[in-house]
Symmetry: D2
Subunit: 353 residues, 4 copies
């Protein structure tokens, strides 16, 4: 941490800053400059609250040099974390993992039917909301536990792994019972009691970036999960707020290489929520893979026009087949393959048996 | 709701949109224009999900004309809602209500001492965090229930009303037991289970605007509270995300007249979190009152340099006395007075006794 | 400037950074920390291009400590700059200066008529666009030179000073010939050839903040003017881009105390462009004065419904009279008075005569 | 255009809006709804100023349905515009065009040397700044006309086409004399006199999106060029302002499919300015091609550590060779090829001869 003094700062003010730093239990090292003096705080263990220094007389600004997150950082752990699911899908290595499915679980026919066609197209993880956080209290809020049971049926039928969202601490346990990955949605990225519970649930967690969260805040939210002993964490870029309303959100694909530089955790992209418009989902899904994403989460609905939520951003099953073909080609430019389709795995299992 | 068609839309596409609208249970009214056709959806009860229409072939865009919130709107209730606290403070009428206190409750001496000087300066509501949502899992997270008990002691000693935050659904009950106003923080503005519980708690609720929430989203979050039968809701502008880092947040004071136009609920401003820098708190507190705020929430700490959190944005008690003097003058330009100080009220009570 | 190294940085990488700094002509001072090493660049004269250092191997980030602007800063000149106009109006001292008038000059009747009523209400500076930068090539673009001549007629009739915009370098000279203040609009804040010419024009310059300019960029743009030898510069906050569309722009009033801390230049606010909606102009004008603005620029039109541009944000003359009364009261809270009305000045002149 | 009335609007207010619309020369069509009345303005030719209507009593909001740009839109011209350069490069068809080179022209050795290696790697257009708009008046501002002459030498030596920026109206002519494409930079996107002059220059124009420009504003700026009779326009996404400072700008790749839907003009991406950090340029260049960009503009410098500007975001020549290989593969997923390298063209010419 660096405390930058005003040009007009007096020696007494500079001394007081240094004393305060020592009073906080750290070393102070003045660095005289041509324009002004700065004072380095040495020994920062990541817990220094800059507030006490910012308010001191003569201080121009306080610059944080050490990063406040620890276990999520590449400096803590250099090699990539790989999250492995029961059906063999690996997220975070050289393979590209595909999560697909409807925004919300609506019925057994709907979810099992779409799961079959998604598996056929090569996806290995099924998404579907059972509990839906909705901006308006009057919108459809999901089927709840019944939705979880239908997802389990779809897994039974297809072998796909299940990812679905928990929206409150009390619901984490039941979601974790049914799901292979517990999702924390964008609106809850800084819901700390929920993060703590999810960190304790014993299942991988998919953490979506908040609508206006910086990458530092995303990593700090993930730190809550790792601090509970859960390292099986997947980050997800899903678009941030912007001044332009042409798309619902602004998909920040640069977050992908940035996160890969700062953290060992895998990062995927959600171009469906990230754009909000069907015609933009396929181009941005391709772009995410080209930017280096470890996977995608894509909304696909058998009949988008009748979807109970987010129909406008759901692909038709045929669009999804095209998308899979395209990203297979793009993966080659980065020496990456798609996660092998489940059919292949099963054949392998049979052969082994 | 208005469905705007592309210039190239065919009659068949226009017909299909109209049929879909009727299939959803509403009337469709085509409006031919010079450049393109639009189709009005008549009879929208606020529950129409535009997604189904946005995805139809030939559709350029869907424009929402009716507002999705109801009970919070001025069209639902024309007269201002006034929230009345047990100590006589009224929020939302012609008076300006002042909430002040430290970021976090730290000790009995700290909270009772500062409460006395705040009451002396004219504040009637004491703020202080017992449960603190912190961006880093390694920061001080508040005293918890002990903090609530200390706030109750301060109320006992001074007569000030108490406002403090609940950070998860399970904690709403105990916060509501001790506090006069239950605060929902900015990070939790869209934590719907928490909003539902707060709506049922039987106490006034202070709802802070999320860091990148639109005003429409703020009003929809408040709608969750009113939908549970609680109309005693106070909104709070506390700064939004911006591209400039000179201040921690960008205090959006225009939200004050905008909300007053759209809703009957009172709105206050928090210039402490809204700026994050002590030297900017007083000017922006003055500006908020001049913009028409129904009150202020201001952080004041007896010794900001030793505060356990947010010291850099806390006023010294003497700054606060100056601020009160200034906003008293500014109030006159709008024909508004500060809430009468508690001393006066007590004298009145004694006289009555 | 501080070059922060990665934890994994080798001694060779650290040495190379230090050598590069010395090669650039500055001193390098390594500062070992608990987590990582940082290297201070000593002797920065404000011309260091951080790019060369950012790209070096082992570098995590480069933090700029010295500020890149000079002559505009309070560290360069501690006392407030006061801009004085020929009609006696002083901008930047303890008085509050009011610029008012229509968005565009439309006719002699319009501009002289409104000037008379504005002067009556107490304004001393008349605004009015002769050259209008418009987002669409098909919108009304102003009367051009004829507009300048009409402004001069209005000055002749009322004694008000004139502020009007120059939109290209070649037009600065003629604008400066007719106007008392040359305005640089928000879209041109970083039009450097225009800034250079305006800096040479020998007239005070009103520089509006760009739609997404940081305060640092605003001050750097002003530095272009001072670098040409013109210190008579007035800054103007007029709203920045935001994700919320309830108002056209987000008026960033915190910029006022921030600029007053960093610079000696006066700063005013334009609540008309800053909100874009008539009903929000008066509250935000009051708020700007309460925040410490040195003046206001407000659009007033004799018949807003027939204005050729920006009618929706123009006050009626009666609204303006009310506003003047309110800000007079607010000024008292800050020990500030409005600039004395021109009538008084003239009486003084006559008396002197 | 749709004028939405408040629920409380009286019949008289509704009538007045309708009369005003007729007074403006258009048809008014009231559309009664369940919650409120809206009034359609029929016959909008793109010149309606909504201001006059927004300010009327009883009006809640005015919604613009017709788009204000004309000639740039796909509704005006359905087929893609293809810009063809003298050296045979085609921008906007099925080929992907690559513009590469240093931020600024620094010397003959530098520009000719880098041009040779870029041509070798397959680029056909050379970028290089002769006039540099710089945020600080004290930074290197380019070699000016000498820079233009050096670019011409590089073209002579390599056959590459030249793109370089004009920063003021008076300089357009000389830039157009030397360059094959006249670039308008992001800071000047709304510099209308400059746009007008560029539209008249008789050369293709590369128009960069402003730092906080909406896509609608970008298209309106392009409309200024087409309105002067120049349809040879290439748009360029180069990153927008955001709240996160991890990268200099936020590259909005979704703009690519959005623009391709709305306009017939080609659009490329500049991942160098769009990220500001070398390590992010290659991933985002790949992503731009995957999103459907018609080309790339990439900064490459023979010795980035000694670059006079933007060294931190410049690729090394070897990085560029890798990038070209990767985007060749990605292009296949979209059935697109790179523009054929100049060597091949020359051979073809010789064969034809």
């Amino acid at each position: 941490m660096l405390v930058v003094m005003k040009q007009s700062a007096t020696d007494a003010e500079i001394d007081r800053v240094a004393e305060t730093i020592r009073d906080m239990g750290y070393d102070a090292r003045p660095i005289p400059g041509r324009q002004r003096t700065a004072i380095g705080l040495i020994g920062n263990d990541g817990r220094v609250d800059s507030g006490r220094l910012e308010g001191l007389s003569g201080v121009l600004e306080v610059i944080v040099v050490s990063h406040p997150y620890k276990q999520v950082s590449r400096e803590w752990k250099a090699e990539d974390t790989i999250v492995t699911l029961p059906n063999g899908t690996r997220i975070g290595g050289t393979e590209i993992a595909i999560m697909a499915g409807p925004c919300a679980v609506e019925s057994e026919d709907q979810i099992v039917g779409i799961a079959r066609s998604l598996r056929e197209a090569g996806a290995t993880i099924l998404r579907g909301g059972a509990f839906k956080p909705r901006t308006s209290p009057y919108s459809f809020q999901g089927l709840g536990e019944e939705g979880l049971r239908l997802l389990a049926v779809a897994r039974e039928e297809t072998g796909m792994a299940i990812v679905t969202e928990a929206v409150e601490p009390e619901a984490v346990e039941i979601v974790a019972e049914f799901a292979d990955i517990v999702q924390i949605g964008a609106r809850n990225m800084q819901n700390y009691p929920l993060l703590r519970r999810a960190g304790q649930a014993g299942k991988p967690v998919l953490l979506k970036r908040g609508m206006s969260a910086t990458i530092k805040e995303l990593l700090l939210a993930a730190e809550y999960l790792l601090a509970e002993g859960n390292e099986q964490v997947i980050l997800c870029e899903r678009g941030v707020r912007s001044f332009d309303t042409h798309t619902r959100n602004l998909l920040d694909l640069t977050a992908i290489p940035v996160v890969r530089g700062l953290s060992h955790l895998p990062i995927i992209a959600d171009p469906s929520h990230g754009t909000g418009v069907r015609a933009k989902v396929t181009p941005m899904a391709r772009a995410a893979v080209a930017a280096g994403a470890d996977g995608l989460m894509v909304e696909v609905h058998p009949d988008p026009e009748r979807a109970l939520s987010d129909g406008a951003q759901s692909l038709y099953p045929d669009d999804f087949v095209d998308l899979m073909r395209q990203i297979r080609v793009i993966g080659r430019a980065l020496d990456r393959e798609l996660v092998p389709p489940l059919g292949t795995l099963r054949v392998a299992e049979s052969a082994a048996g």
